[in-house]
């Protein structure tokens, strides 16, 4: 079973124009992943299944990376009291977030030698609002069928080429994507009979709102 690094080299050899890079996993499990650009994800997937023998896509899931404010220390030469000096300055850089579809691949046919570490394939969308289209890998691995529908339902990643992309878990009239980090669920705690601390504050605010 090839490791992620060897597979990366093999992919770049077989598909020179495929934009793939390695993402190291700092955890002890050392399950590194291959990030592939959505445009040629289908190509890479077909290669992995046909040539590399990864015929079993065990797990497909979505991860939401919201945009982050990164404060970076930047060396800036500035005029301070007429003297050119190097000054440490924190620059706020707004990193655009993205939605990610993660695929864990194994091989069932040749699964004899040794414990199997998953080959992790990642596709990232452009951003979290309008450019959320990613090619569906269901034609390559049928096991991604329901799981991609679930990722579409809970994260909002649109899988192009999926034969039946509907919401899997929430009801069809539901509009939000609840597993996103910035989802606020409806406040239907109301006030339990023994209202206390922040439920009490919410209840009083609601009651005050009703009172006007």
């Amino acid at each position: 079973m090839k490791t992620a690094e060897e597979l990366l080299v093999a992919i770049q050899a077989a598909l020179p124009d495929a934009r793939v890079e390695l993402l190291l996993n700092p955890s002890v499990s050392a399950q590194h992943s291959i990030v592939v650009a959505p445009a040629d994800a289908l190509q890479v997937a077909v290669y992995l299944r046909e040539v590399e023998g990864l015929d079993y896509c065990s797990n497909v899931t979505g991860v939401d990376w919201p945009g982050k404010e990164i404060a970076e220390k930047v060396k800036v030469t500035k005029l301070v009291a007429g003297v050119e000096t190097e000054v440490e300055e924190t620059v706020k850089r707004r990193e655009p977030g993205c939605l990610e579809a993660v695929y864990h691949l194994f091989s069932m046919r040749n699964s004899k030698e040794g414990a199997q570490t998953p080959i992790v394939l990642r596709q990232r969308t452009g951003n979290r609002t309008d450019d959320v289209k990613v090619p569906s890998l269901t034609p390559v691995w049928r096991s991604a069928d329901f799981q991609e529908r679930e990722v579409f339902d809970l994260f909002g990643i649109v899988f192009e080429g999926h034969h039946d992309l509907r919401r899997l878990l929430m009801w069809d009239e539901f509009e939000d994507h609840p597993m996103r980090r910035d989802y606020v669920d409806p406040d239907d705690y109301e006030w339990e009979p023994t209202a206390h601390d922040e439920v009490l504050k919410r209840a009083q605010a609601q009651a005050a709102g009703v009172a006007e």
């Binding site: 009239e173 509009e175 609840p178 669920d185 209202a195 009083q204």
Partner: protein, 215 residues
């Protein structure tokens, strides 16, 4: 109105058995409560275990689990009622024939239980339909379900036929229709049935939040 117990026992010793029509009517209904086959989640497995040989719900005349709501008297809500399932639960309750009862089995059915923070979990089925017996536990043991069942039987036995405390199915103004909630864009609309689940007004903001809740 009921026969005094002491007199009853004395007469019983002489071999004379006296009962009232009300006791006879309730005795018949109490001992043949047919539950509806309505398993939602983990509590359903404990409910099935209760009907099996070891705990044997049949001793109380309830081993016939009717799949159709038309032939069931009791709905045991065993498991988490999600917001996607809530309209179906309320519609099934409406479609059951009158004298119908509800047992909310398990913490999830009573108040959302461990999954209370879930966005798709209804915080308790009391918001839409009246519940007769609540059985706490996650899942409650089969003995707890049997005890809850006996509580329901006591409650049925105590229902008078006429007068003030008579059950819902015997009085004309009793509430018969429980509106089915609609699945909206973000949540169920309405989020609770105010007639069935009157919200206690919270203690007023400006006054020091007293423990008791007026209104």
């Amino acid at each position: 109105m009921a026969v005094e117990p002491k007199l009853n026992i004395e007469l019983g010793k002489q071999g004379v058995f006296v009962t009232s029509f009300n006791e006879l009517y309730n005795w018949g209904r109490k001992n043949s409560v047919w539950p509806m086959q309505f398993g939602l989640a983990c509590c359903a497995i404990e409910m099935i275990a209760t009907t099996m040989a070891r705990y044997d719900l049949a001793r109380f005349g309830a081993e016939v689990f009717r799949p159709s709501p038309r032939q069931a008297d009791l709905m045991i809500i065993s498991g988490t009622v999600t917001k996607k399932m809530a309209p179906q639960v309320v519609r099934l309750y409406n479609q059951m024939a009158e004298p119908r009862y509800v047992i909310a089995m398990g913490a999830c059915a009573i108040s959302g239980g461990p999954f209370k923070q879930g966005y798709n979990v209804l915080k308790g089925i009391d918001r839409y339909i009246p519940v007769d017996v609540h059985i706490p536990g996650c899942p409650p043991r089969p003995e707890a379900l049997l005890h809850g069942f006996m509580e329901l039987q006591k409650r049925i036995a105590a229902q008078p036929l006429t007068g003030e405390g008579r059950p819902r199915h015997l009085d004309e103004e009793g509430m018969a229709e429980f509106p089915v909630p609609v699945q909206g864009a973000h949540d169920l609309e309405p989020s609770a049935n105010k007639l069935v689940w009157p919200l206690p007004a919270p203690p007023v903001a400006e006054a020091a939040p007293k423990t008791g809740a007026e209104g």
